[in-house]
């Protein structure tokens, strides 16, 4: 079967269960957002998927065969991560050449072109790059590698607003011209909210949500108005969170609003992904 399947994957570090019976399926040519708080298990999951670390239980199957036991599978998947695996004295241009040795599909012309757009100098040594340019170097590599599965762990770490904007544009361009499965793990949820099609939320080593963004967001809404009116309206509904500002109250409610029978003075707005994420994973969240 085509796609990337994670089946019953558990990973423990001593007493800590970093991944707890994870079951996921990543389809072909879709953009997934892997969202979780610090320490939720995102990087461990990505490292397990790419075979950098081994699961204690469970399996990762890529297009029908285990990812770690199949040489050709490992060349079909690329992970851009926070840690740097390149020799420190290597120059950017050499690193591109080196990546080309490992990945036949790596497009060096594309990498050079993207470096130009981001202002990344090819003659710089990788160790001399700033945090931002270190990220850019890794992004340029990931966006030129042309494999069917691309995992981006914190792709905008240290990037300024202009470079983040450019990255999102280049990502969409690359995806449009050369569709692949992207799994993007990020803390800047608002910025990728429109780009990701599917949302996977991991919390304390467990998957708590896994569905298309539209369907996830359509399950909740926000009602705003006078405290008493909102409370009256929400009385028989499932409120996942609320906040007040003076006499004004926002209530986040599970379900679909009936717009025709909204009481006077209440207004409805859509739940956004970041707000929902905070409610689902925050302290005192009751939705585990």
């Amino acid at each position: 079967m085509k796609g990337l399947s994670v089946t019953n994957v558990t990973k423990r570090f001593g007493d800590i269960t970093a991944l707890d019976r994870i079951n996921l399926y990543f389809g072909e040519n879709r953009i997934y957002g892997l969202l979780g708080r610090n320490g939720a298990g995102k990087t461990t999951l990505l490292n397990t998927i790419t075979g950098r670390i081994f699961a204690d239980e469970g399996s990762v199957i890529l297009d029908g065969s285990p990812v770690t036991e199949n040489e050709s599978n490992l060349s079909r998947i690329f992970m851009m991560s926070e840690s740097n695996y390149y020799p420190e004295n290597m120059k950017v241009a050499d690193a591109f050449r080196w990546t080309g040795e490992f990945y036949d599909s790596f497009d060096r012309d594309r990498a050079v072109e993207l470096s130009g757009r981001f202002g990344l100098s090819l003659n710089k040594k990788i160790k001399s790059l700033s945090t931002g340019y270190g990220t850019i170097f890794k992004l340029v590599t990931a966006l030129s590698v042309n494999v069917p599965y691309i995992l981006l762990d914190e792709p905008v770490l240290g990037l300024d607003a202009n470079h983040r904007d450019l990255f999102y544009r280049v990502l969409i361009e690359t995806y449009s011209e050369n569709p692949a499965t992207y799994i993007i793990s990020t803390h800047l949820i608002e910025e990728v909210s429109g780009i990701i099609e599917d949302v996977v939320i991991i919390n304390k080593g467990r998957i708590i949500r896994n569905e298309p963004r539209e369907s996830l967001l359509s399950k909740y809404y926000c009602v705003t108005g006078h405290i008493s009116a909102v409370d009256e309206f929400a009385r028989d509904k499932k409120v996942i969170a609320s906040e007040t500002l003076g006499g004004l109250k926002n209530a986040y409610i599970e379900g679909t609003p009936d717009k025709r029978s909204m009481p006077e003075g209440l207004s409805i707005s859509r739940m956004d992904l970041q707000k929902l994420f905070i409610q689902l994973t925050g302290e005192g969240g009751n939705m585990q």
Binding site: E191, G194, I195, D272
Partner: protein, 122 residues
């Protein structure tokens, strides 16, 4: 042009509406090409599938059509069609909102009629 992620309507509906606005205001005249799915998704920073879904709404409504190998074009008669539909929606979208806000502020019917007259003069 800007998308509102907290807007109660899904992104693809907002995309469709903004292209309609551009057609109505003459930015994309009839029988001219509209931006491609990729251009739209890059410029709004949204998934190409979402942009495509928005464009497909316009195809279903007969506002744009596909020219094989070239891209999407504004249909002949699209402006008239859009105007007719928006006229039908005008009461719900504008008049009923205007009246409910006017009531909340304590305006009389006559006050509002005067303001509308002033609006037409300016």
């Amino acid at each position: 042009m800007q998308l509102h992620f907290e807007d109660e309507r899904p992104l693809f509906i907002q995309i469709a509406e903004q292209i309609e606005d551009a057609i109505l205001s003459g930015v994309f005249p009839e029988e001219t090409q509209i931006p491609s799915t990729t251009e739209i998704s890059v410029s709004y920073k949204i998934n190409p599938a979402t942009a495509l879904k928005g464009i497909n709404i316009l195809v279903d409504r007969g506002i744009v059509y596909k020219r094989r190998g070239l891209g999407m074009f504004v249909a002949k008669g699209a402006v008239g069609k859009l105007k007719n539909r928006r006229k039908e929606e005008f009461f719900d979208n504008y008049v009923s909102k205007l009246v409910s806000e006017a009531k909340r502020l304590g305006f009389s019917k006559e006050d509002i009629i005067k303001m509308v007259e002033r609006g037409f003069k300016e």
